[in-house]
C-alpha cells in the first residue's frame, strides 16, 4: 500500500510445488502455486479436504520441504536457507494448528508450553523472564493467569486454541499461518477466537495466511482469498469481489453449497457438484475440475487453464480489485498471465 509495487509483499511463492511419493506414483499436493501476501493483510485459502491447502501452509513455513519453486519472505528465498539461518527465520513465521487437542504437549503445563519457544530461541534473558512473558501473553489471548500451572487436558477446546495462539505469538512473528484454527470449535467459541485473531492482527501488525474450508469464516477474516482445487489455485480475488462475483464454476458451486441460516433461502437452487474430488496422483494435463464441471468443454480435458487476470474487473476498479481465474471459459486471449 504505502510501499512501492513488488516490494510491499511480505510473502510470495513462485511456482511452489510439493509432491509426495506414494505407492501409485506422485501425489501432486501443491502444484505450481503463486500467491502474494502484502504486509498486515490476511490471505484466505479455501478448498475442500484434500485440496492441498494445509500442505501449502506447511511448505511455506518449511515444515515440509518443497519439491520446487520459491518462497520469498521479504524478498529472500527462504527455501535456500541453511539450518542455522532457518532457525532464526522461524521466529518470524509461526503456525496455529487446527486441532488444539493434538498440537500441544499434554505433559507440559500451560505456562511451560507458551514459554518453550522463547527458551529454545533464547529470546528472553532468563527462564523467569520467559515465564513472565508467558503470563503477559496469556493476558493478551484472554487466558486467566490461574491456568498457568494446569495441564491442557483440564481445559476446553477454545482455551486450548488460545494456548496455541499465545505460543505462536511468543516469538513476536511477522507472519502466522492459521491452519483451520476454528474448525474444531463450537460456533460461539469460534466467534470469540476469530475476534481475538483480528484484534491481535490490528495491535501487532501481523500478516496472516488463513487456511479453512469454511467460506463464511474466510469472508470475515480475509482481505484476499485464494480458492484451491486439487493442488492448484483456481481463483483469486479480494474477499468482497469473490463473494459478489465468483467466476470459476468450482467457486460458484462452493458458494451455493453453503446452507444459509435464513429460511427465505430455502428455495435457493443449490448447484450440486456431481461426483467427488478426482485423484491427485499423477494428474493428467487439463483442468482438474473438468470431470465434475457442468461447463466442461473439449479444451478443458486437454490443456490446463492458466491463472489469468480478468480484464473487466481491472477496468472497474483501481489496482486493488484484481481478479484471477484459471478457467477456459474466461480465456479469450486478451487476458494477461499472472
Amino acid at each position: 500500500m504505502e510501499c512501492p509495487a513488488n516490494t510491499c509483499s511480505l510473502l510470495e511463492t513462485r511456482h511452489l510445488k510439493k509432491y509426495f511419493k506414494v505407492k501409485d506414483g506422485l501425489l501432486h499436493a501443491v502444484d505450481d502455486v503463486n500467491i502474494t501476501i502484502p504486509h498486515k493483510r490476511t490471505l484466505g485459502v479455501v478448498g475442500e479436504s484434500g485440496c492441498g491447502k494445509s500442505t501449502l501452509g506447511r511448505t511455506i513455513i518449511r515444515l515440509l520441504d518443497a519439491t520446487g519453486g520459491q518462497v520469498l519472505f521479504n524478498g529472500e528465498d527462504i527455501l535456500k536457507y541453511g539450518r542455522r539461518k532457518m532457525k532464526a527465520m522461524r521466529r518470524k513465521m509461526q503456525i496455529i494448528f487446527q486441532d488444539p487437542y493434538s498440537s500441544i504437549n499434554p505433559r507440559m503445563s500451560v505456562a511451560e508450553i507458551i514459554a518453550e519457544f522463547m527458551i529454545v530461541h533464547n529470546t528472553c534473558s532468563s527462564r523467569t523472564a520467559a515465564f513472565q512473558r508467558a503470563a503477559e501473553l496469556m493476558d493478551t489471548v484472554g487466558l486467566a493467569r490461574r491456568y498457568a500451572n494446569v495441564y491442557p487436558h483440564e481445559l476446553d477446546g477454545g482455551r486450548r486454541q488460545r494456548i496455541g495462539i499465545a505460543r505462536a505469538l511468543s516469538l513476536d512473528p511477522q507472519f502466522i499461518v492459521c491452519d483451520e484454527p476454528v474448525s474444531a470449535l463450537d460456533v460461539s467459541i469460534q466467534a470469540q477466537i476469530l475476534n481475538l485473531l483480528m484484534d491481535i492482527q490490528e495491535d501487532r501488525g501481523l500478516t496472516y495466511m488463513f487456511i479453512t474450508h469454511d467460506l463464511s469464516v474466510v469472508k470475515h477474516i480475509s482481505d484476499e482469498i485464494v480458492v484451491m482445487y486439487l493442488g492448484q489455485c483456481v481463483e483469486q480475488a479480494t474477499s468482497d469481489e469473490l463473494f459478489e462475483n465468483p467466476m470459476h464454476p468450482y467457486t460458484k458451486a462452493l458458494l451455493s453449497a453453503i446452507p444459509e441460516p435464513d429460511i427465505s433461502m430455502r428455495t435457493k437452487e443449490i448447484k450440486i457438484i456431481k461426483g467427488e474430488i478426482t485423484s491427485p496422483i499423477n494428474p493428467q494435463p487439463g483442468c482438474r475440475f473438468a470431470a465434475r464441471c457442468e461447463y466442461a468443454m473439449e479444451i478443458c480435458r486437454q490443456k490446463t487453464p492458466p491463472l489469468l487476470l480478468q480484464p473487466h474487473v481491472v477496468q472497474k476498479e483501481a489496482s486493488e480489485e484484481k481478479h484471477f481465474v484459471a478457467c477456459h471459459l474466461y480465456g479469450n486471449g486478451q487476458n494477461q498471465v499472472l
Binding site: 475442500e48 479436504s49 476446553d156 477454545g158 463450537d186 460456533v187 460461539s188 467459541i189 469460534q190 466467534a191 470469540q192 476469530l194 475476534n195 483480528m198 474450508h213 469454511d214 467460506l215 463464511s216 469464516v217 469472508k219 470475515h220 477474516i221 463473494f243 458451486a253 462452493l254 451455493s256 453449497a257 453453503i258 446452507p259 444459509e260 441460516p261 435464513d262 429460511i263 433461502m265 430455502r266 443449490i270 450440486i272 457438484i273 467427488e276 474430488i277
Partner: protein
C-alpha cells in the same frame, strides 16, 4: 393429537459415576408429527446426542439413567418396553444415522451385507434372499451409489460415499422415524450439499419423520419444519422454523448463536460472540443455566429457574418474557 408420532414429556437423563452426576438432559418436552422434520440445535455438550440415544434406548447401561419423564412412540410408552421389544423397533421403525460414518461401519463386512443385515434381522414378511438383495440394490440406488459397488468394503469408499451407505442402512427397513445425528459434520460443503439435498428428497418421497441434530443453523434453516434450541440440557426455545428465523423475540442464547455465525451477506468484520462457556453439567447454576453468560441478566435469573412462555407455536424459557403482551405461561 392422534397424528403424533413421538412425544417426549419432561424427560431428564443423568450420567452417574462414583465421582459425579452429570445432568445431561433436563426436563425437555417436545413432540413430532408424522412426516415432520424437527431440528435440534445446540453446541457440543448441550445434550443433543444424549436425547437421541435416550429415544433409541441406547444409553450406556452402567452410567446412563432416565430420572424422570416419558417417551411415547405411536402411542406406546417406549420406556416400558422390554429389550427384545425395543430391538424390534430399533432399526425397523426408528433408525439412526450417526455422526461419524468412518466409525459406524463395520470395516470387515461388505457394504451390501451391512445393509442387508438389518433387513434379515427384521424380516417379518419372510423375504427371500433374492428379495433382500433386490432391496439392497434399490436403497443403494436411492442414495446414489451404483449397486455394483455393494460387494466393496467401507475403506474403498470416500467419506461422502460412506455417509450415504450409512443413510442407506438406516433407510433399508423404511423406518417411520429417522434420527440423524450431525449427518454432515464430517463432510465437505459440496458433499454436504449433496447429502442434504438427498435427505430432503428422501423425506419428501418416503414421508419419513426426522429428527435432525446439528450445530449448524444453516442446515436447520434449509431442512426443518420445527426447531428446538438446546442449551445445557434444556430446550430454551422451541418453535416453527418461521418462529426461530424471522420472529423478533428470542431467547438471549438463540440471539447469541445467530450473532456468532459469520454471515455471508453482512459487511461487519467483527462477530458478536457469546462470552464465557457453557456451564459444567455436573454443577448447573440454580437459576437460569444461561444467566452467567447472558447480556440481559436480571436479579431473578440467578435465583429462579425460568418457566416456559408461549406465543402461538413459539415457546421460550426466559424471565424476560414474563408478563409480556402475547406471551402466556406454559403449563407443565
Amino acid at each position: 393429537m392422534t397424528d403424533k408420532l413421538l412425544s417426549i414429556k419432561n424427560l431428564s437423563v443423568q450420567y452417574k459415576t462414583d465421582l459425579e452426576t452429570v445432568c445431561a438432559v433436563n426436563n425437555i418436552t417436545f413432540s413430532l408429527k408424522k412426516g415432520e422434520t424437527f431440528g435440534l440445535v445446540g453446541e457440543t455438550g448441550a445434550g443433543k446426542t444424549t436425547t437421541a440415544l435416550t429415544i433409541m434406548r441406547l444409553l450406556p447401561a452402567e452410567t446412563g439413567r432416565i430420572t424422570e419423564g416419558s417417551i411415547e412412540f405411536t402411542g406406546k410408552s417406549m420406556l416400558d418396553l422390554t429389550e427384545p421389544e425395543m430391538r424390534s423397533i430399533r432399526g425397523e421403525q426408528i433408525a439412526m444415522i450417526f455422526q461419524d460414518p468412518m466409525t459406524s461401519l463395520n470395516p470387515v463386512m461388505s457394504v451390501g451385507d451391512q445393509i442387508a443385515e438389518a433387513m434379515e434381522l427384521h424380516n417379518k414378511d419372510n423375504k427371500t434372499k433374492e428379495q433382500i438383495q433386490a432391496r439392497v440394490d434399490e436403497v443403494l440406488l436411492l442414495v446414489g451409489i451404483p449397486s455394483s459397488r455393494k460387494f466393496e468394503f467401507p475403506h474403498q469408499f470416500s467419506g461422502g460415499m460412506k455417509q450415504r451407505v450409512v443413510i442407506a442402512m438406516a433407510l433399508a427397513c423404511e423406518p417411520v422415524l429417522l434420527i440423524a445425528d450431525e449427518p454432515t459434520t464430517a463432510l465437505d460443503v459440496t458433499i454436504q450439499a449433496q447429502v442434504i439435498s438427498m435427505i430432503r428428497n428422501l423425506r419428501d418421497t418416503l414421508g419419513t419423520a426426522m429428527i435432525m441434530i446439528t450445530h449448524d443453523l444453516g442446515i436447520v434453516a434449509q431442512t426443518c419444519d420445527n426447531v428446538a434450541v438446546m442449551y445445557a440440557g434444556e430446550l430454551v426455545e422451541v418453535g416453527t422454523a418461521t418462529d426461530i428465523y424471522t420472529s423478533k423475540d428470542h431467547h438471549p442464547y438463540t440471539t447469541g448463536l445467530f450473532g456468532s455465525i459469520p454471515n455471508l451477506r453482512s459487511k461487519a468484520r467483527r462477530l458478536t460472540p457469546i462470552t464465557g462457556l457453557m456451564p459444567d453439567p455436573t454443577k448447573l447454576p440454580p437459576g437460569c443455566t444461561f444467566a452467567p453468560r447472558c447480556p440481559k441478566k436480571m436479579d431473578v435469573c440467578e435465583a429462579e429457574h425460568p418457566c416456559a412462555w408461549r406465543n402461538g407455536t413459539h415457546l421460550i424459557s426466559c424471565h424476560l418474557f414474563a408478563g409480556q403482551e402475547n406471551w402466556r405461561k406454559e403449563e407443565a
